[in-house]
Symmetry: C2
Subunit: 122 residues, 2 copies
Amino acid sequence: MTTATQTLKDEEELGLVFSALGNPTRRSIVSRLSVGPATVSTLAKPFAMTLPAVSKHIALLEHAGLIHLEKRGRSRLCTLRAEAIIEAEAWLESCRVYWTDTLDSLAQHLEDPDDNPQEAGS
Amino acid sequence: MTTATQTLKDEEELGLVFSALGNPTRRSIVSRLSVGPATVSTLAKPFAMTLPAVSKHIALLEHAGLIHLEKRGRSRLCTLRAEAIIEAEAWLESCRVYWTDTLDSLAQHLEDPDDNPQEAGS
DNA sequence: GGTTAAGTTAACTAAATGGTTAACTGTCAT
DNA sequence: ATGACAGTTAACCATTTAGTTAACTTAACC
């Protein structure tokens, strides 16, 4: 029954995941990592910014749970964490569920007269 | 053949969509709208913040293409735009494609010796 | 032990975000 | 026409974000 706590934590992480993906540099890094693991400096190469900047992006991605960092000698190997992506997808999917039978559910969700688009329509 | 331009525009909108969903208030609004359309003030009710604050969140959601605003007398009806959500889902899905056959593709993507996690492993 | 390579941390800056209050624009009702 | 209702705009403020440069740690190399 740790579901409630778990849900709160997930909700918070979900925000971190979405914010992380809001940045083009980070999205690009995630795309790159979806092909396979890479080190920090390899990930940094394509970008016209300093290493500390990329390093911070990577730290943020890790904090969001989107990637995993593993020490490998003097370099760090970054790996994409499928779970985070799947969670984000699941949330988006949960928004889809409803509007598939929107025509039916609309009729049941008309508690608030202000929000009834059909009231003035028909 | 407007694909290239379209892709750039989509990439930009994708960032707006993900950033928008990074905020818990906005995520909550989107969740609510997935059940059915609602007016601005109805959407604002659950939140412990002023109307202008919610109004700005809604404007941002519209700018991101996540919702559509329709004037209805003196109120505005907000409707979720499926396309935006589907685009975001599609991007996440595109990250998944690769790691399903990661074991195979890894062997083919080992251009960079620094990034080869198996090199030191075996 | 000294140097180089990989990366992080610290201190700083400019711009964006998320909120506030106050004033404004329309629309509906009387 | 007046007034209340729905919502936006403007001006402001505190915090966060995304980047910089400079200094530091740690591991590899000779």
